[in-house]
Structures are given as C-alpha cells and as structure tokens.
Amino acid sequence: MFTQLLAQHFVHTALWAGAVVAVVSGVIGVFVVTRGMSFAVHAISELGFTGAAGALVVGLDPVIGVLGGSLLVGLVLGLLSLRGRERDSAIGAVLAFGLGIGVLFLSLYQGYATEATNLLFGSIVGVSDAQLRTLAIVGAIVLAGVAVLYRPLLFSSVDPEIAAARGVPLRALSVGIFLLLALTTAEAIQVVGVLLVLTLVITPAAAAQHLTRRPGVALLLSVAIALVSTEGGILLSLVKPWPTSFFITTISFTAYLGARAYGIGLKPRLRPAGATGRGLRGAGA
C-alpha cells in the first residue's frame, strides 16, 4: 500500500511542494525568531486566509487571495516598523479586524466548505503541477531576496542601533523582511494551512537556536528540521490516513523539545570557564 502510493504522481508533487516550502520557511524563520516577529507571522497567515476567502467569493484562485492578503499586511507592518508592545497590540488589532472580514467572506461564499477547511488546515496532497511551479518561483524569489539582504538583515536584527549608525537602512530592511515573510507565509499556507504556518516558520528556527551558536549553522539546521518535518509528515500520512498537518506539527514539535533539552546541556559548555579573564571581575560586583 505504502509503496503503491509512493509511485503516485500526486505524492511526488506533494513531496516536492513540501520541500520547497520547508526550505523557504526554514530560512526566513531564523530572522523571524531573531527579530521576535512570531506574532506577525500569525497575523500575516490569518489575513492570508481572509484574502483567500475574499478570492473565493469573487471566483478567483484562492492562492491569489492568500498572496494578496499576506503581502498587504506584510507591507503595512513593515512600514510601521514598530517595536515591542506597541507592535504586539497593533498586530492584535489588525488581526482581529481582518479575521472578522474573513468570516463575512466565508458566509457570503456559496461553494464547498472543504475549500475553507483546506485553507485552515492545509491540503498538501491536492497540489497541482501548476501550483508546484508557482511555489517554486515564489520560493526562488524569497531565497534570492534573503541572499541579497542577509548580512544587513543579520546586523539590524542583532544590533539595530549600531547598524543604523553604519548606514544600514532599517525601515527598508523591515519592509523587505515583512514582504519576504508574507510570500513565505502564502507558500506555507498551501502545505500546512493558515492555523499551522507557525509550525514551519517558527518551530524549526526556534529549535535551531538551541543547537548552535553560529548564525550560518542555525540557518542550515532550521532548514533541515523543516525539511524532515514536512517530508516525514507527508510520508507518515501515506502510512496512516491521519491529516498530514498533524504529522508535520508533531515532528517539528518533537525536534523543538529535543533541541531545548540539548540546549540545556549545551549552555554551560559554551560558556568558557573564567571567560572574564585577566582578573577583571568588578570589585563591587
């Protein structure tokens, strides 16, 4: 049964789609986690849902709606480039209103409810060849964008004040990362659905943070965890007919727990004994 399924074309398409989305999510996730943008990911994906519901109402491809909704919210949040609590509350307000509109669109939509369920929880096995092509193109755009922005993005994520002093355009970078995030989210929605985007964009990167102290390695580990989760989830759903998204979230969460446990053991070893050196401990400290 499993081997028969593995030979199916739609399974291959699903595996490829999963791979594209995993790579892109793993890469962007590193910056999302470093910059503390997890809540923004949630908002962008939920409004991607509103966009999709809107597209269904007017008879467009929901993928276009997802892209439109996420990009619009990404652009607004990027331009605001807010920090801390102000950002959280602004996102919360926008998110709630957007979902309200989404509910309206859904009630206006006369079609099949499965379309909406798929948006919320994902439908990786339903990906067509044409959709896979779109996923690959959008994924390539995101990766190219990250490649260009990588160094200043790292600088401004770590130390915005010094980066600004060195001429790094903070606001432009903020818009850039939010737009790339919006594209990534729109991709991930098609695999794991609106409600589970975080499992690919946040969890792998958060796990990777606990496994290494090197920025480049963190990026690779994040991609690896996202890939194992997605592909593993798709394969498991062939063995046992439970939702793919359930398996994906379970694998990525297991990786996260494992990484945290490993991190607890790792920290004391990373902090070299007597690192202060040279007898510099403050007299009064």
Binding site: T34, A147, V148, L149, Y150, R151, P152, L154, F155, V158, D159, E161, I162, A163, A164, A165, R166, G167, V168, A208, Q209, H210, T212, R213, R214, P215, V217, A218, K267, L270, R271, P272, G274, A275, T276, G277, R278, L280, R281, G282, A283, G284, A285
Partner: protein
Amino acid sequence: MSVVAVEDLALRFGTRTLFEGLSFELRAGELLAVLGPNGTGKTSLIRIMLGLLTPSAGRVAIEGCPPRERCHRIGYVPQQRVFDRDLPLRGRDLVRLGLDGHRWGFGRLGEGDGERVDAALEEVGATGYADAPVGLLSGGEQQRLRVAQAIVADPVLILADEPLLSLDLAHQRDVVDLLDGRRRAAGTPVVFVTHDINPVLRSVDRVLYLAPDGWAIGTPDEVLTSETLSDLYETEVDVLRVRGRVIVVGTPDDQHVHHVGDEHTQ
C-alpha cells in the same frame, strides 16, 4: 590637523533650542568628553556626527566630508544593551559585523579580514571568549566586544554614547582604558558622552559641557569650575574636588548629586 570640524552648529526641536553656535575642532588622538544633564542634546550631537540627524544650522565635517556621505568609517559604541540569551551569535561574529555588516549579500571576508577580527579581539582582551555565544557573556564582556566591533575597521573617529552605563566600576575603567589605548596607539580621536566625568577624568583632554542655556568647552580644569558652571546654569553651582573626583553640587536638576550618592551605595 583636525579630524572633526564642528562649525556654528545648532539644534532645535520646535521652539526648544538644545544648543546653538556650537563650534569646536578635534585633533588626531584627542579624547573629548561630552557632559551635561539629560535633554541638552548630548546624544543628538552624536547622531548628527553619525549622519542620522540633520542639524537646524551649521555643519560638521569629518576629514572634510559631511557625515551623511559616509566617506569615512566611524566606530560607534552605544550604551550596553543586553543580548538575548538564545541569540545564535558568537563574539567573533559580532565583531565581524563591524567589517561587513552593512554590505549586501552574504558578506565575504576580504583578504586579511579574518586577521583583523582576531587582532581586534586581542586588542580588547576578548580572545578567550570570542567563540562563546554573546548572550551568555557578562555586560562588561559584551561591551568589550562592542569596542572591538567599533575599532575593527580602523575608523577615523570613535563615538561612544554612555558606554559605561550599567557597568560596575572595574569594567567602566576597562572600557575607558581600551578607548584611551586606541587613541594613543592609532591616533583615533574619541568623543565620549557621559553624565559622570569621573571614570574618564584621567584620560580626557577636553570637556564639552552642554547645559540647558549654553555650552562651554575646554580642559577639565577650565570647564569644571564653580565659575564656569555657575555661568552656564545662571545659578550658584559648586564644583568640588574630593580625592581626585569631581562633584558638582547645586545644578537645578541636581543630577550629579544623586549620581554620586548612587555610586557610594554600590
């Protein structure tokens, strides 16, 4: 030859004037402390010199070039701000950002850049923890790394904005000694914003005192006197010298008195 020329500089926000007619020059190897109470434009002056803020009048030239054009590398050491404990970034990576953090792409190290990072780490005595995650280092260690990041690209000028805040006295002394050593060895002038002159008193060449209604510049002995400060504040201010420390009493904000009190309780 002067590295920095500040000419008739003024800064106003709405109807409020922070300073005006500010003029001074900085020679190679000079260490200037910028003192004064909160809200007199100390940080704004740094931001103008970094090209991040446009003055209301006047101009600044760094080796003949306006700061906005970024012709020359400027080292910047801000207040200590704690890094997240989870941040996947080593001390070495932080210093390297001082070389290529502003370049697009993945950032390639040029020839000799690896050695420059090592040399900067060595210069601030951070070699021993260069490979540890920055989030696990102490405030003093993090601040040393920031100094290394500021000097790694061999800047023509170093601007330090309250770099000693929330450091204990021993680490304050370390950071001052590092900047002092740098300007003596490499001739890099240093502008050092601080609300307490005492940690830098031994090293400082001149003091720029920004008061709410005026400013004064000169050697510590010229500026930090009861006469000069009483003039600046237009009220009676006493400057006391106690065991090599300067204590200012009687400014309207009384900030210095409080600060000295805080230090004694530490």
